[in-house]
């Protein structure tokens, strides 16, 4: 067996392989670590964290849809201080300090520019390797998606966060826009080190027997295999529009899906809701990517990034 290079570079940070977890679907890895080995992953991306604790939305918070799901968790989180003490501490303890350790990417959310900036500041001296800025959550009233749907606001917040951040920043884009490539370009110009996409597509489900919305928040974010074709298209569009790395996600359920995103232009990928269907799926994704590389004799996984144009 030949040496195969799986490692990829995101803004100067080397990931041992391109497979990450999608924010919000993996907690901080604590619960999954009982079932799998998180040291097999390129990076763990944690659940969105804000300055103060957030209660999130009422229940039901999730609903099943054809080949997908809706969620309206509403970014419940214990706030940055508890997060740093407990979650980052857990990750620090759990991750093997090898040559290329599993990286820690902290997903940040907020209601105002100031809140984002403050969270990012508090992360400056932590073990977080990269920060992912969620400006695309459709499930909270203030902040989040509002920043992600307006080029002007997106540019401003990206600049401010970039100035405040010690770590490289990844701007997480919303698919609920007319032109996502434009949004990626705006982020690049404002100094973002990478973009990740897609966050969920806003959707709704109605219980026709009870004549009411299934989710207590009325709308939720659609994710899963159902949205994969939209995500692949958007990754392709963004990769063609910017030079900074693009991280692809949306419905990934296998190594083959991960390869598809990379061929569309993604430097790395994240597995989201399919973690719920199969708690070992991220590990399996890495294994089947290696098998694909062997079958096609690919020496360096970076070769396939953007190979289909």
């Amino acid at each position: 067996m030949k040496e195969r290079k799986l490692s990829v570079d995101i803004a100067g940070v080397t990931l041992k392989n391109p497979v990450m977890t999608a924010s919000g679907t993996f907690g901080s890895g604590m619960e999954y670590s009982e079932l799998m080995d998180i040291n097999k992953l390129g990076a763990v991306v944690t659940k969105g964290v804000s300055l103060l604790p957030w209660e999130g939305n009422g229940t039901p918070r999730v609903a099943e849809t054809s080949s997908g799901m809706l969620n309206a968790i509403g970014l419940q989180n214990p706030g940055i201080d508890t997060f740093i003490e407990r979650d980052l501490e857990f990750l620090y303890k759990t991750i093997d300090k090898t040559d290329i350790p599993t990286r820690i990417i902290v997903n940040v959310c907020g209601k105002t520019e100031e809140e984002y900036v403050e969270v990012v500041r508090r992360l400056a001296d932590t073990d977080a390797d990269l920060l992912e800025i969620n400006v695309s959550c459709p499930n909270v009233k203030e902040g989040a998606i509002a920043f992600g749907q307006d080029p002007g606001a997106l540019s401003r917040i990206t600049e401010k966060i970039k100035r405040a951040a010690r770590q490289p920043i990844i701007m997480k884009l919303s698919p609920n826009v007319t032109n996502i490539a434009l949004m990626a370009r705006v982020c690049e110009e404002a100094g973002a080190d990478a973009v990740s996409l897609i966050n969920t597509i806003t959707g709704m489900k109605i219980d026709i027997e009870k004549r009411r919305f299934v989710l207590s928040n009325k709308t939720g974010g659609l994710s899963g295999p159902a949205i994969k074709p939209v995500a692949v298209r958007m990754v392709y569009e963004c990769a063609g529009a910017v030079r900074i790395p693009v991280i692809g996600m949306g419905g990934i359920a296998s190594g083959e899906d991960a390869i598809e995103f990379m061929m569309a232009g993604a430097r790395a990928v994240a597995v989201g809701m399919m973690n719920f269907r199969d708690h070992l799926i991220t590990e399996k994704t890495v294994v089947s990517m290696i098998q694909y590389m062997e079958r096609h004799d690919i020496r360096d996984i970076n070769e396939i990034t953007g190979c289909v144009r």
């Binding site: 079932l35 229940t59 214990p78 899963g224 973690n275 719920f276």
Partner: protein, 271 residues
């Protein structure tokens, strides 16, 4: 320890018109405690979320669930046969506490009855109260082996004349201690049941009534809650319930049913 496994089906059986009993084999059984549940996955790639189902009992490496057909997922599950496999993860959640003040009222309503069998088998100071909506009294005989059983039936009329003879028979046989037309609270009140503690599983209105009754009567109550789940293991925050105090894990007044629950001390949660 939790396991994700492809479990072999040992036996599938119909207990009532829409209630099935399923025995599966795997590692989960050996770790399971009463009140815990498993996540069951359908074979249909268009339905991706887990179906949480309580563990009804275990025997060595064998585990039993009893479920009602509530939608397409459980309908598909009911079509599986001996020798087929089913993807499951478990055991999940905390389960009922072992050390409580006895005797214990085990209160099961409808499809909340199955976990009471596992619980009843683990204790010997049970007073069992079962609420059925109609006279299809699934699991009744099995439960009656582990305590005195009181039953409440919402719509006993559906059994007709033969049905009421059937209930007479159960009373005579000593399978049940009492019969009440109504719900479990009616049965508890009618029989003036008292206990040190109470464990309850069933629909939310029943749990609310149990909580109130126990509060008034100084019975320590634990309730098993339900909510839509996604990860089943505490990572996604889909399945929360409101909590009286700030929860140490969440940092807010929310507890995860799949992790801190499904069994909670009644006074600590908002039902």
């Amino acid at each position: 320890m939790k396991y994700s496994e492809s479990a072999r089906i040992i036996k599938q059986e119909r207990l009532a018109s829409d209630v099935f009993s399923l025995w599966i084999e795997g590692r989960i059984a050996e770790e399971a405690r009463p009140g815990q549940f498993i996540a069951v996955y359908t074979k249909d790639p268009s339905r991706l979320l887990p179906r949480p189902i309580s563990i009804c009992e275990t025997e060595g490496r064998r585990l039993r669930i009893v479920y009602r057909i509530a939608g397409e997922g459980t309908r598909q599950l009911s079509g599986l046969r001996e020798g087929d496999t089913v993807e499951v993860t478990g055991p999940l959640g905390n389960g009922f506490p072992a050390e409580v003040k006895g005797p214990v009222l085990l209160i099961g309503g409808g499809i909340g009855i199955p976990p009471m069998l596992f619980t009843a088998k683990s204790r010997n100071d049970n007073i069992i109260v079962l609420g059925y909506r109609d006279p299809e009294l699934f699991l009744l005989r099995e439960l009656s082996e582990y305590g005195r059983v009181h039953i409440a039936v919402e719509r006993p009329q559906e059994c007709g004349r033969e049905g009421s003879e059937y209930i007479e028979g159960l009373l005579k046989e000593g399978i049940i201690e009492s019969f009440t037309k109504g719900n479990v609270l009616d049965a508890i009140r009618e029989n003036g049941l008292s206990a040190g503690s109470a464990f309850a599983c069933g629909p939310a209105p029943m749990l609310r009534a149990v909580k109130e009754y126990c509060g008034v009567n100084g019975i320590e109550a634990w309730v098993s809650l339900e909510e839509r789940m996604a990860c089943g293991i505490g990572a996604c925050l889909a399945c929360v319930c409101g909590s009286r105090d700030i929860d140490p894990h969440s940092g807010v007044r929310n507890k995860r049913i799949c992790a801190e629950g499904p069994v909670f001390k009644a006074e600590e949660v908002i039902i």
